[in-house]
């Protein structure tokens, strides 16, 4: 499982303050803590309160690169903000994210090609959030089709079936899980799959339990990657165990520690 740490995000008070005061130590600590907990890559998001995201994004990228060479997942709804991050990235990058909308794909696919970045495609469009599996598959096929026509390598595409809170869209959960498996057979080679995990538990009381239960189920459906809180040790332990049961790693009595030594 390719783990993307979600904690460098301006919606969290510590990061928001750090961005405002240009406190790079706080950001670097957050980066290193997540990596120590098992993150393979770091999400970077200036947050909704950022007044100058075009400056904040490259600042965050530079500051993280001083302490880590892990891939950075540049997270913004505004392509211009993402491009400012791409310009200064020496680390590998993942664009987070495009939708299935033509305007988004027209801007972000050329950027991904230009900067040799991976790309997250979320299966939503201007028409709204899909209501079932078929709508998700249709949007996924649209994104893959555009990637193929722009010669973007499909192995570098991460499709997100868009996770909704379980207390809002309980009836869609099975469709979301099945989409993970079915996205991968739309093309050959198939795309990778990804989830923004924490959304599943928004507004619930047992967030951590719901997160790790859903992640386990998604892993069984073939999920490749997730954006999540790597400092949630129970979550990571559960993930490691789920992958063990799927024979992705060889068992030994200290398999949790073995995974972390990798």
């Amino acid at each position: 499982m390719f783990i993307i740490g979600e904690l460098i995000n301006g919606m969290y008070a510590n990061i928001s303050a750090a961005i405002k005061e240009r406190d790079k130590k706080e950001v670097q600590k957050c980066a290193l803590d997540q990596i120590a907990s098992g993150a393979d890559a770091l999400d970077v998001n200036c947050g909704p309160a950022s007044r100058e995201p075009l400056k904040d994004m490259p600042w965050l990228v530079e500051v993280i690169q001083e302490v880590s060479d892990k891939p950075l997942c540049l997270d913004s709804s505004k392509p211009a903000v993402i491009e400012e991050g791409l310009k200064v990235s020496r680390n590998k990058t993942i664009i987070n994210s495009t939708t299935a909308d033509k305007e988004k794909l027209d801007t972000l696919l050329p950027l991904a090609n230009k900067y040799k970045s991976k790309l997250i495609g979320i299966t939503i469009s201007a028409k709204g959030i899909p209501q079932n599996k078929d709508q998700r598959l249709e949007l996924a096929a649209n994104i893959i089709d555009r990637c193929l026509s722009e010669s973007f390598p499909i192995e570098d595409l991460y499709l997100d079936p868009i996770v909704l809170p379980v207390n809002v869209a309980q009836r869609q959960m099975r469709d979301i899980l099945e989409s993970i498996a079915e996205f991968k057979i739309i093309s050959h080679p198939g795309p990778k799959t990804i989830l923004g995990l924490s959304n599943i538990s928004q507004g619930t009381h047992l967030r951590s339990l719901i997160n790790r239960t859903f992640l386990t189920m998604a892993v069984a459906y073939g999920l490749d990657s997730a954006i999540l809180d790597p400092n949630d040790k129970q979550l990571i332990d559960t993930l490691i165990t789920a992958e063990l049961i799927l024979n992705k790693n060889i068992y030994c009595d200290s398999y949790l520690e073995a995974y972390r030594k990798k």
Partner: protein
């Protein structure tokens, strides 16, 4: 239409491990032996780098062998009566690059030599031959915990490979290897889960994973060879996929396992053939070090390795 080979891309690499230290590294060896470093499954040269061919170590003992078959005994002749002559013969006559000395004479049932005697033996051996050493205990855990630290200290800075650490008895040996700058053999009973666990336990007390050689325990042809083969293959697949806890080179005690079979003892040459087939099969499954007994078998396998690596 030309057939396209499907080539696998691997994320992991087997660790590279050096046995023996020359003068520049504080030792006194005339040559060093490098093993591991593969970035592909055995002999798939197009899939990744295979920088070091497998190496044969000649097995010697610190006492004349007790129950060796006539065919083995006649290959060495009178030299077997004196372990130092035996060692010299392996190096000068059979071109051994590496010796594996088993401290059989320290076993309570086979001479019960003291740690002091064992240390003296190793010091003398190091002065008489200049090839790197693998030092193996007699297999009696309690006694090995006394004599192996003494041997380790006597060979300090010579960067030997010392063994075997097992799941229930590894701490003393690891501490010695750490103190005296040696590499270690981690032995598991044809069990990949225990092999992995033991490597973690060893690295937890401070000896890095890059200094471990796995002894997966093998069986000779007809005695579980394919079982050992599959364990080695599975470990290698995991290592190449990125599991560092299994990314260690393998040592296989080919001679010991071959010459205990009844088939090896029934007629002339059959034991040699049995040892050759066991060794070459294990090369296919990823063996890096082959500890062998019969010089004629060792010669054949050495030629075989050369032909495989002639590129």
């Amino acid at each position: 239409m030309e057939t396209q080979l499907a080539l696998e891309k691997w994320a992991g690499v087997i660790s590279t491990l050096v046995i023996g230290a020359g003068k520049e590294d504080g030792g006194s060896r005339g040559n060093i032996v490098k093993i591991g470093g593969q970035g592909s499954l055995p002999l798939l040269f197009r899939e990744g780098s295979i920088p070091n061919p497998p190496v044969i170590a000649f097995e010697i003992w610190d006492i004349p062998p007790l129950d060796w078959s006539e065919e083995l005994v006649s290959a060495y002749g009178k030299a077997l009566n004196d372990p130092f002559d035996w060692a010299n013969k392996c190096v000068s006559e059979f071109n051994a690059q590496l010796l594996c000395v088993k401290m059989q004479g320290t076993h309570p049932d086979f001479g019960n030599k003291t740690p002091k005697d064992a240390a003296k033996f190793i010091s003398t051996l190091l002065s008489k031959v200049k090839v790197p050493l693998i030092i193996i205990g007699s297999g009696d855990d309690a006694k090995d915990n006394l004599i192996l630290p003494a041997c380790s200290e006597a060979a300090k800075a010579e960067r030997c490979l010392i063994g075997c650490a097992v799941q229930d008895n590894y701490k003393t040996l690891v501490a010695s290897a750490l103190a005296d700058g040696h590499q270690i053999i981690a032995e598991s009973p044809i069990d990949i889960n225990i092999a992995k666990q033991l490597n973690i336990l060893i690295s937890d007390i401070g000896l890095s994973l890059e200094r471990i050689v796995i002894n997966p325990t093998i069986g000779a042809l007809g005695y579980g060879l394919e079982y050992a083969y599959s364990i080695m293959e599975r470990a290698r697949l995991a290592a190449l996929s990125g599991d560092k806890t299994l990314a260690a080179p393998f040592i296989c005690f080919v001679g010991q396992e071959t010459w205990r079979t009844k088939e090896a003892k029934v007629g002339p040459e059959q034991g040699i053939i049995w040892e050759i087939i066991t060794a070459t099969s294990l090369i296919q499954s990823g063996a890096d070090l082959l500890v062998m007994r019969h010089p004629a078998a060792a010669k054949k396998v050495s030629d075989y390795i050369k032909s495989l690596f002639k590129r």
